[in-house]
Amino acid sequence: MSIRVSNLSFSYGERLILDNVNVIAEPGQLLSVIGPNGVGKSTLFHCMLGLLNGYKGQITIKGKDIKGLDVNEMAKLIAYVPQSHYPSFNFSVFDMVLMGTTVQVSAYSTPGKEQIKLVETALERLGIAHLKDRGYTKISGGEQQLTIIARALVQQTSVLILDEPTANLDFGNQILVLTQIKYLARDGYAIVQATHNPEHAFMFSDRVLAIHGGKVLADGMPSNIVTEELMRKLYTVDIDVQSLYQDKVRVCIPKIVIEDNHPKV
């Protein structure tokens, strides 16, 4: 297996954020982590990426314990796709992706021909080669997300961590980005992504992990996780889950209650 998190606990001071969490991500699998805001998804990802070290438990990538590995060694094992954000400086798409190759070049040099080739291949693979000379801040949110995914690909790791890759994207771009992520999983990457959309988790994932209150609430096949019972428990609102097209799609319908006599402010 590619990445394994065993009995992971993490606390900020007195506050326990993660409580005995277990995660396994296999090569060729897309694992979606769902759960409300503030349940520890980001903390879990930060631990897996080696950005947080004060955890209890063990995290191994390709059988190697990551505790005590330096940033350079970590960057060769696992790549990160953060939520798209506005950078301080406008880099070209090409330069942005080229930054992913930094770990392959020595501290005092700049990426060379070999790295440029990697970037071109990654841009082509994600269908954004035509954007390479555009400024990163001037392209659409979906294109930005694909750019950051390309940057993770050129890092040449076998594990990818994506933090809500479809946040802030319009409907069409969400599907476009998720489709590309699905292809990457099919090509052999072990992918762990956070998502706020259980319907997407159902449609695209090979496996879903539901986290609530720092604990793993459920872990398994999407069809076993995206259920009425679990969704209601996870998001603490009344939700109907409907299965459509012979269970190819599941729709989560929240029961909305608008009270007529709701007090005015």
């Binding site: 970590m74 301080s88 406008n90 880099f91 930094t102 770990v103």
Partner: protein, 340 residues
């Protein structure tokens, strides 16, 4: 089809800046009170390499080598250093408005120089005081930021503002108690920035810290790119962001301290030149760093030419750069977004 079209022009632009710098240096040799014509200039310069029968006066050679040459070299070095430091700070603090004085290096240098003048020290000692106090200020800022809670970058910038203003207040106090007939004008003049004290010795002295800072900044330029994305992202890409930031701060501080210790306070260059360079070659530090170093050298040299030749008395550099810097600032905040 995948050939990066932008890359070729960028290196051509950098080469162009290099040629422009050589032309500007040649041109600056002619400027000055004492007229030297082109054939005399080339004769004197060439005589250092090959043997030529002397057709110029000894005085010309002395002026050229002992007065104009150190001043030209110093102008280039100071411009190069301040611009490189500004560009580096902007990158590592993810702040396009950062300038070489962001961590209090200039405020500390000013205090040191004022203190030296108050103690009637000679020119060399003023430079030394300025240099030492400049480094001391940034060291204090750094240690305060280590104790600060919350974000490291914010802590550094706030500590820089605080310690900087403290040293500025110290400078004001020295001005208050200084002898108004000779010390106060000397302090005031130093604070306005000038290269008039340039000698071969000063060039030789500051060249060491400048080289020690500029060379790492130049070679680390690709990594500065990655640091502009923020600490977490940089770390996941294999960059030890804390260590890299410290190295860049040390180098940028070293060159800033060396510059202000010989030139006095020259504002705006470290902010304006990196931004003009960004317009020319984009934000990728691979091209930005060499472009900004060359551009800074050219700019400073030309401003210094104006400073020493426009009027009978020298115009302080700080005043000239502010005249150019302030309108540029207005342009920066009102410009249209770049459209590539």
């Amino acid at each position: 089809m995948f050939k990066n079209k932008k890359r070729v022009p960028y290196s051509v632009i950098i080469l162009g800046l290099g040629i422009l710098l050589v032309v500007a240096i040649m041109f600056s040799f002619f400027l000055g009170r004492y007229p030297i014509n082109p054939s005399e200039l080339f004769g004197i310069l060439l005589s250092r390499v090959i043997h030529i029968k002397q057709f110029w006066t000894d005085q010309m050679a002395t002026i050229l080598f002992n007065v104009r040459m150190p001043r030209i070299l110093l102008a280039c070095l100071v411009g190069c250093c301040l611009s490189a430091a500004g560009a580096s700070y902007q990158g590592i603090f993810q702040n396009p408005m950062a300038a070489p004085d962001i961590l209090g290096a200039t405020a500390g240098a000013a205090f040191g120089a004022a203190l030296a003048i108050l103690h009637n020290q000679n020119h060399l000692m003023i430079t030394l005081y300025a240099f030492v106090f400049s480094l001391l200020t940034v060291a204090i800022v750094y240690f305060i930021s280590k104790k600060a809670q919350g974000k490291q970058v914010l802590g550094l910038i706030l500590a820089g503002i605080m310690v900087g203003s403290l040293f500025s207040a110290g400078t004001s106090y020295i001005k208050l108690v200084a002898d108004t007939s000779n010390q106060l004008p000397a302090i005031t003049y130093w604070l306005m920035g000038s290269l008039s004290g340039a000698t071969t010795t000063t060039v030789a002295i500051v060249l060491i810290p400048m080289a020690l800072g500029l060379i790492p900044l130049f070679f680390l330029r690709w990594r500065i790119n990655v640091l502009t994305l923020g600490d977490d992202e940089a770390r996941t890409m294999g960059i030890n962001s804390t260590r890299l930031r410290i190295i860049v701060i040390m180098c940028a501080t070293l060159v800033t301290a060396a510059s202000v210790s010989v030139s006095g306070m020259i504002g705006w260059v470290g902010l304006v030149i990196p931004h003009l360079s960004r317009r020319l070659v984009g934000n990728n530090y691979k091209h930005l760093m060499p472009a900004t170093m060359l551009f800074g050298a050219i700019f400073m040299l030309l401003v210094d030419d104006v400073s020493r030749n426009l009027l009978q008395t020298e115009i302080p550099l700080g005043i000239l750069t502010a005249f150019i810097g302030a309108p540029f600032f207005v342009y920066l905040i009102t410009r249209k977004e770049e459209t590539f």
